[in-house]
């Protein structure tokens, strides 16, 4: 059963739109899958390799702007942004990695956080280049129906899942985890920690950039405040993985579904107004206290908590 779980999920997701879901439900599904891609990418760097990033919006935004600027500057389809973002985001990741990866622990986290903010300010101020706060609008949408966008992001998610699984089960994955558990020990066991951390960062960045490039094409509009957002992108990315389960294969997907649904539900209660952010804060505290390994990581514990399974005697 466990072995076939990925195929069953994929099959289910592949036929899901065929039953005629409303445009709104499709939108929610697309967002959830997109977030699971970003979550899986973040998980690779921060969950497995232990380098906690607070600035994944930097890579998301770079990917989004790669696609947007190909359209606005060169006049070609924003979909070329998907392959183009690989090169652009890798270059950015190498620069950011060169600066940040010499730092450890919380210092790395703070440095990445600032990277996201710096890129936002740059994008806002290079008006001639990026369009500044006006953002980039893609005037002719590729498809009116959402189903094609759905299948594209599903394919990206599938590819990301396979890529992450392959990396984690190979030598790279063991090296990443060794670096997470003890960087000095890893170094003395012959692991070039700087090199492998850079690889983790680049892989993670490219996958996040993919999601960003997709986002431009799907939403048809980007501006710096949206795609380089600290709380709406960087922090939500961390939340998705924390809620779902750090360093698990299915954690980011589970977290993405929960976070997207929760955001929609909370936003639809008008009485809350802007207080809806508070709920995410409370949720994060509850998760960290009761389910430190997330819903997937602490699944058996969760079942016990809600009384589905008797305590082991």
């Amino acid at each position: 059963m466990k072995k076939y779980f990925p195929f069953i999920t994929l099959g289910f997701l592949a036929v899901l739109p065929l039953i005629g879901l409303s445009s709104y439900v499709m939108h929610i599904l697309i967002l959830a899958i997109m977030w699971s891609v970003i979550g899986m990418a973040w998980n690779l760097l921060s969950g497995y390799c232990g380098q906690v990033s607070f600035g994944h919006a930097a890579f998301f935004g770079t990917g989004a702007y790669s696609a947007g600027m190909l359209y606005s500057k060169l006049g070609i389809s924003g979909w070329w942004g998907l392959p183009a973002s690989i090169i652009v985001v890798t270059c950015f990741a190498l620069v950011i990695g060169y600066i940040c990866l010499r730092l450890r622990g919380p210092f790395f986290a703070l440095a990445t956080l600032s990277m996201g903010v710096i890129l936002r300010i740059v994008a806002e101020n290079l008006v001639d280049f990026t369009g500044g706060d006006l953002g980039i609008m893609i005037r002719e949408r590729t498809w009116v129906e959402k189903i094609w966008y759905y299948y594209i992001i599903l394919a990206i998610a599938c590819g990301t899942f396979i890529a992450v699984k392959m990396v984690i089960e190979s030598k790279l994955g063991y090296y990443f985890v060794a670096i997470r558990e003890d960087q000095d020990a890893a170094e003395s066991l012959g692991i070039n920690t700087t090199f492998y951390k850079t690889i983790a960062l680049c892989l993670s960045a490219v996958l996040t950039g993919f999601a960003g490039a997709f986002y431009t094409n799907y939403m048809g509009y980007i501006d710096p405040k949206v795609v380089f957002a600290l709380h709406d992108i960087s922090i939500v990315t961390i939340m998705v993985v924390m809620v779902g389960g750090v360093a698990t294969y299915w954690g980011p997907a589970a977290g993405a579904v929960i976070m997207v649904l929760l955001a929609e539900i909370i936003r639809s209660i008008p009485a809350l107004g802007t207080a809806h952010q508070t709920f995410f804060g409370i949720l994060l505290i509850v998760i960290i206290i009761f389910l430190p390994n997330g819903i997937v990581g602490d699944f058996s514990k969760l079942k016990r908590l809600v009384g589905l399974e008797r305590r082991p005697t």
Binding site: E181, S188, N192, T193
Partner: protein, 240 residues
């Protein structure tokens, strides 16, 4: 050409000199004991050989080439592996995965690495514990896991930092057997140890450090009768 040459190595931390002008050589296949009171600079010397510290003065040569200034991972790739006094296992991984992670260094592909890892687990007597999460291992096992991980990088020189400390007599005997078998494989060993009986029985040569300086070097017999050593180290231990 000697196997490992430590040539006039000094290491300063600010104004404090942790190692002063230490020189000695190790021949291939030997077990060399490194002893001295607490704070004598033994672990600092390991950190210099292993690449965590650059020597402030002097150089370390391994098989005729200088290795001072190289990063720890490069030195490990050249064939020097070490264990840590305060054990540093990959806590959330199983014993097998711990050894596997370092077995990748000189093997091609996962299959080969897994085979090597299993061999080493057999060799160090950790085979039964291979699926245990290393966080939950008793100290003796964790010390042995450190040795297993270092062995998985297939070194020519193994630096053991207090691998016997805190072991009970049974574990101690097992560990001594393992060290002897490692030597039979042709691996040279430098070992820091406080347990005098152990160090005297397994070492071919002993180097004694005190306040960062080498005060004696020789066979266990010579060291036992050196008045300087007795004064600096053994005498203290007896009066305590």
């Amino acid at each position: 050409m000697s196997f490992l040459v430590i040539n006039k190595v000094s290491r300063f931390f600010g104004g404090l000199s942790a190692l002063t002008n230490v020189s000695f050589e190790i021949s291939k296949g030997d077990i060399v004991g490194l002893i001295g009171p607490n704070g004598a600079g033994k672990t600092t010397l390991f950190n210099v050989v292993n690449g965590f510290y650059k020597p402030s003065k002097g150089e370390v040569f391994f098989r005729g080439r200088t290795i001072s200034g190289l990063k720890p991972h490069q030195i490990c790739q050249k064939g020097i592996a070490r264990t840590f006094q305060v054990v540093k296992p990959l806590q959330r991984l199983s014993v097998f995965d711990n050894v596997l992670a370092s077995a990748f260094l000189r093997t091609a592909g996962r299959g080969e690495a897994a085979k090597l890892a299993l061999d080493i687990l057999q060799f160090t007597g950790l085979f039964e514990e291979r699926d245990t999460i290393s966080k939950g291992l008793p100290l003796g096992m964790r010390k042995r896991l450190e040795i297993a991980r270092a062995l998985a990088t297939q070194p020519e020189l193994l630096l053991l930092d207090e691998s016997f400390a805190g072991l009970n007599p049974t574990e101690l005997n097992e560990s001594i057997q393992i060290i002897r078998r490692i030597r039979e494989k042709g691996i040279t060993i430098m070992i820091i140890e406080h347990h005098m009986k152990v160090i005297m029985s397994i070492s071919d040569r002993i180097v004694v450090l005190n306040y960062g300086e080498k005060i004696a070097e020789g066979t266990p017999q010579e060291i036992r009768h050196s008045p300087l050593v007795v004064e600096a180290y053994l005498g203290e231990a007896q009066s305590a």
